[in-house]
Amino acid sequence: MGSATPLLEIRDLHASAGGVEIIKGLNLTVNPGEVHAIMGPNGSGKSTLANVLSGRPSVEVTAGSVRYQGSDLLALTPEQRAVEGVFLASQYPVEIPGVANSYFMKAALNAARKQRGEDPLDGMDFLAFAREKMKLVEFDEKLLHRSLNEGFSGGEKKRNEILQMAILEPKLAILDETDSGLDIDALRIVANGVSSLRSPERATIMITHYQRLLDYVVPDLVHVLADGRIVTSGGAELAHELEQKGYAWLQSEAAAP
């Protein structure tokens, strides 16, 4: 693991939603520069993990610790985590009628810039900045001027998440099943977005049910989540193994003490 501080360090995490324990003793270390894939069957706790890391109020952490850049992540509000560089690409991006996509992104970017001690960008500067990023994810500028996600197709919503990620340049990006429901073209675009952020300072956690995204973005580490715990970890080849064998064989391992 080296002597550098991990970007993210999760120790014996337990978390519940609606009074039901879903994460049951999870350990995970993510170092700067790494791309991790977290795979697992439905209900194994993948999205709950994403919600814990981003601070969704409906999820309750009952035990364990999460350190981010060496500090207690759980003590921060969702907005504090965001401006500290934690980004969640949502599985179900919400619609906000009447709020222009560009206005929303500019507000988000300026919140992060304020935290970094930088001056806010005005409308013109923001647009110039956003145009560069839009090229990267082949984003239609028309969508930038529409209400946030309102009337967007499923693919457009996901692409909008990736555009926001590209604009905000997070230190820790968490993609919660961003690939589900996407066609090959969209998948390639999402992969471009993730790859463009790959750098020695940043890290990405891709949560996915399927292996196919990992053909485009090759992860450094693959973890398999079952019944609230990581039951096995490995290199990119583990994903291929899962694709062939399915998840059924994991259930017995998860049940073991």
Partner: protein, 486 residues
């Protein structure tokens, strides 16, 4: 961990009211109570002609009839203790020289009051291009830019002054849209109205600046009964704004105003309101009862009247700015944002009465409720048999913040001409935990997120407001939900 969004919304809903100060000023007031003598005294104080006194007395007679019949309106979905109409002061005016030649003669306390509210009565703020008539308690205290407007033949002054200056215009149009016997509160207003604004835009004149009236209730126990009359002659245009605030007081105060608009052939009136009367405290103590009759008559062919309102104040609001679409091809519009928090109640909407051929109306109503507030949209669209080819589009959206507030929609559609088209759409939504979390995950605070979502919800209405007012309204909507986070 973050608190639940319910607790947060609850806290945000308990907003502060920033205009709640009282100005200490000498006032000339009548004792509480209402009878024929009250009306005669008010009329005499204003040196009114006989016909106007007679007109008032007819209103008073009608009011007492309605009171005796027990026909005080109760159909609105609002709840309040019975008003004792003998317990109200019907006239209160700041003591000062009776006619003002210049602002130097205005009591400095009054000027300071308006400055404090962000309304400058000194004409130095020429860049703003807004002429202001300031109504303090029952009387107009100052009107700005009068001379400049007069050069174009535009009359903009207090109602009392108009009665002296152009009695024939007042007589011709007063009560022609809202008569003395129109309804309970309109009858009361006809009897005891003390002042208000009057504007006349001559033929073919495009009024070069926004006209505005700023209403301030100050005295305790005093009802405010102003009457506004705007007449846009053929081919003219005017944009008119009104704003209102009041001190924080523990008792409820009655505000029963009447606004009449008349648009002749090809004339257009744009009437915008930002209403921020004192809403009462979080337990529902105090606040203004805002029982107002506003109606415009599109009397001429191709005339247009547009009502835009942002309502965040008052303990109870009861108002239905309406359009009588009499002229062929005339157009009526109603754009409304009503926000109720704590224990505020609002029953508001519009009436579009289609009489002329090919008349068109648009209704966009946005209601926002938070805390324990109750809000109703009540709207009537009536297509008369004569209104061939009439069209209406109505859209009523409600946004609920928290789970203790309510929103209700009562659309009334009366269609008596089969060639017409009437459309009505209604939605109710909440600010979901998902929306809030999404915004916060992008680095926005809870308050910024709510303010952004609310402003987005109201966008179709806010964009109808004149620029300066839109900024004020947007700030007000944010402010109204502001809590003490952080």
């Amino acid at each position: 961990m973050a608190e639940s969004s319910d607790a947060m919304l609850g806290r945000l809903a308990e907003r502060e009211y920033e205009h709640g100060f009282v100005t200490d000023i000498d006032a000339d007031s009548l004792p509480p109570g209402l009878d024929e003598n009250t009306v005669r005294v008010i009329s005499a104080k204003k040196n009114e002609p006989e016909w106007l006194l007679e007109w008032r007395l007819k209103g008073l007679k009608r009011f007492f009839e309605l009171l005796d019949e027990g026909t005080e309106p109760t159909w609105a979905k609002v709840d309040y203790p019975k008003i004792d109409f003998q317990d109200i002061v019907y006239y209160s005016a700041p003591k000062q020289t009776p006619t003002l030649d210049s602002l130097d003669q205005v009591d400095p306390e009054l000027l300071a009051t308006y400055e404090k509210l962000g309304i400058s009565l000194t004409e130095q703020k020429r860049l703003h291009g807004i002429a202001v008539d300031a109504v303090f308690d029952s009387v107009s205290v100052a009107t700005t830019f009068k001379d400049e407007l007069e050069k174009q033949g535009i009359i903009f002054c207090s109602f009392s002054e108009a009665v002296q200056r152009c009695p024939e215009l007042v007589r011709k149009y007063l009560g022609s849209v809202v008569s003395q016997s129109d309804n309970f509160y309109a009858a009361l207003n006809a009897a005891v109205f003390t002042d208000g604004s009057f504007a006349y835009i001559p033929k073919g004149t495009h009024c070069p600046m926004e006209l505005s009236t700023y209403f301030r209730i100050n005295a305790a126990n005093t009802g405010q009964f102003e009457r506004t009359l705007l007449v846009a002659d053929e081919g003219s245009y005017v944009s008119y704004l009104e704003g209102c605030t009041a001190p924080m007081r523990d008792e409820n105060q009655l505000h029963a105003a009447v606004v009449e608009l008349v648009a002749l052939d090809d004339a257009e009136i744009k009437y915008s309101t930002v209403q921020n009367w004192y809403p009462g405290d979080k337990n529902g103590v105090g606040g203004i009862y805002n029982f107002v009759t506003k109606r415009g008559s599109c009397r001429g062919a191709r005339s247009k009247i547009s009502w835009t309102q942002v309502e965040t104040g008052s303990a109870i609001t009861w108002k239905y700015p309406s359009c009588l679409l009499q002229g062929d091809d005339s157009v009526g519009e109603f754009y409304s944002v009503a926000m109720t928090t704590n224990r505020q109640q609002a029953d508001t909407g519009t009436k579009m009465i289609h009489i002329g051929k090919n008349t068109k109306s648009t209704i966009i109503s946005k209601g926002i409720s938070a805390g324990n507030a109750e809000q109703s949209y009540r709207g009537l669209v009536r297509i008369q048999p004569s209104a061939t080819g009439a069209r209406n589009y109505s859209q009523c959206d409600s946004l609920l913040l928290g789970d203790k507030c309510g929103a209700h929609t009562f659309p009334y559609l009366e269609v008596k001409n089969s060639s017409s088209t009437v459309e009505h759409e209604a939605t109710t939504s909440t600010i979901g935990e998902d929306q809030l979390f999404y915004c916060r995950q992008r680095g926005l605070s809870e308050e910024d997120a709510i303010s952004m979502i609310v402003n987005g919800f109201c966008k179709e209405v806010l964009r109808e407001l004149p620029m300066e007012f839109a900024v004020e309204a947007q700030a007000l909507l944010g402010l109204s939900l502001e809590g003490s986070v952080g």
